[in-house]
């Protein structure tokens, strides 16, 4: 259900940005979301379509790109991918069910996952949280917004 808050955040961020740049109509917003959050795209889009009404995003569509995370251990230097910690992710999901904490806060991942080689939680995660990656502005084309 926090997909509604995420949609709220996306609409606010892009509207603020559009106003600051004097863009009156946004036609597409593309967001990147860590795939291990298992965010529900249907709910996110439903919420987006509701919240966007009356904003510069009124006629826009939402595109979602799921990004697979990669991890680097600061303790031993080992790098590994999301697929390699699938078992750990599955066990957290089965412990929590719907209230899976990484669903709500992907930045909690180092606390729940550990390095496959040394067991450390001192992990740098490449994909941390939800980002607006691209915005398409009527008359201006696509603008990349990731700094």
């Amino acid at each position: 259900m926090h997909e509604w808050s995420v949609a709220d955040g996306i609409v606010r961020t892009v509207s603020t940005w559009a106003r600051e740049n004097n863009f009156s109509e946004i036609t597409m917003v593309k967001v990147g979301i860590p795939s291990f959050t298992f965010l529900e795209v249907d709910i996110l889009k439903e919420a987006f379509n509701e919240i966007k009404k009356g904003t510069p995003l009124n006629n826009s569509t939402l595109e979602v790109e799921f990004l697979s995370a990669s991890f680097k251990c600061r303790n031993c230097g080992n790098s590994f991918s999301e697929d390699q910690v699938r078992e750990q992710l599955d066990s957290i999901r089965s412990e929590f069910g719907e209230e899976y904490p990484l669903h709500l806060m992907p930045a909690l991942s180092p606390s729940f996952l550990s390095c496959l080689r040394c067991g450390s939680h001192d992990l740098v995660v490449e994909v941390q949280d939800i980002m607006v990656k691209e915005v398409e502005v009527k008359g201006h084309g696509t603008i990349k917004t990731v700094s």
Binding site: R12, L108, V125, D129, I130
Partner: protein, 243 residues
């Protein structure tokens, strides 16, 4: 663009933000935060930002999970106020995070809270100068009031001066709260030493000082701090009216 950061900033805008801080641990910061939030009363949301200890939820006796609805994370309702704790997200798991992630977690916790109906937000920050304080500055543009908690101990006062100096430099309004300052048994006794050092600090930096009494009975209220009505609560009610 970070949608959660924008959402967190927007949620704090137009609300009074109070941060309870301390330079070191063990000075009773979580008890002070809890009683302060209860003293300000209705319309107050207490957010436990001490994400590694999550002590506030324990003081109030909460060990359940927060519900998440269309409006976001629903605060626990207790003693007339709202309470948000990361323990309501992670259950009884420990939280251990690299610094950068602490800021992200704090940002998303603020972003997701349903703040409908709350006028004041009290943050219980972890001891010391760290990521949580920087995040609070980012999210509020330094528009918050700080309550700096110390004990009369000389070490605590010396360490707290860093915090006082930093906040002064950042132009953040502050109050100095000397916890466990005196014991009232007909006459005033100061078992942890005098408060001359604290007074001098308060005068040098021009921040108001409040003394808090020692009340051993507070221990009996761990798990139900909302029911405590003793002297410490009365002293915090005075601070609440001057904030």
């Amino acid at each position: 663009m970070e949608p959660l950061r924008q959402l967190a900033e927007d949620k704090l805008k137009g609300r009074k933000v109070i941060a309870v801080m301390s330079a070191k641990g063990g000075v009773g910061k979580s008890v002070i935060s809890s009683l302060l939030a209860l003293s300000i009363g209705k319309g107050t949301l207490l957010i436990d930002m001490d994400v590694h200890t999550m002590a506030t939820a324990k003081l109030f006796g909460f060990n359940s999970m927060h519900n998440v609805g269309k409006g976001g994370l629903e605060p626990f309702s207790v003693g007339g106020i709202g309470l948000i704790s990361l323990s309501g997200v992670v259950k009884d798991n420990y939280v251990l995070l690299p610094g950068n992630n602490v800021g992200k977690v704090m940002e998303s916790l603020v972003a997701y809270v349903n703040m409908e109906g709350f006028k004041t937000v009290v943050f219980d920050l972890p001891p010391g100068l760290g990521e949580e304080l920087l995040t609070l500055e980012r999210l509020t543009g330094n528009r918050f009031t700080s309550l700096i908690v110390t004990t009369p101990s000389k070490v605590s006062i010396k360490v707290v001066e860093y915090l006082v100096r930093y906040l002064k430099e950042r132009r953040v309004n502050g109050f100095l709260v000397v916890n466990m300052s005196y014991f009232n048994c007909g006459k005033i006794v100061r078992p942890f030493g005098g408060i001359d050092e604290a007074k001098s600090l308060s005068e040098r930096y021009g921040i108001p000082l409040f003394e808090m009494p020692i009340d051993p009975s507070i221990e009996e209220f761990v798990g139900k701090v909302q029911d405590y009505r003793g002297d410490l609560k009365k002293s915090l009610e005075k601070i609440a009216t001057s904030l």
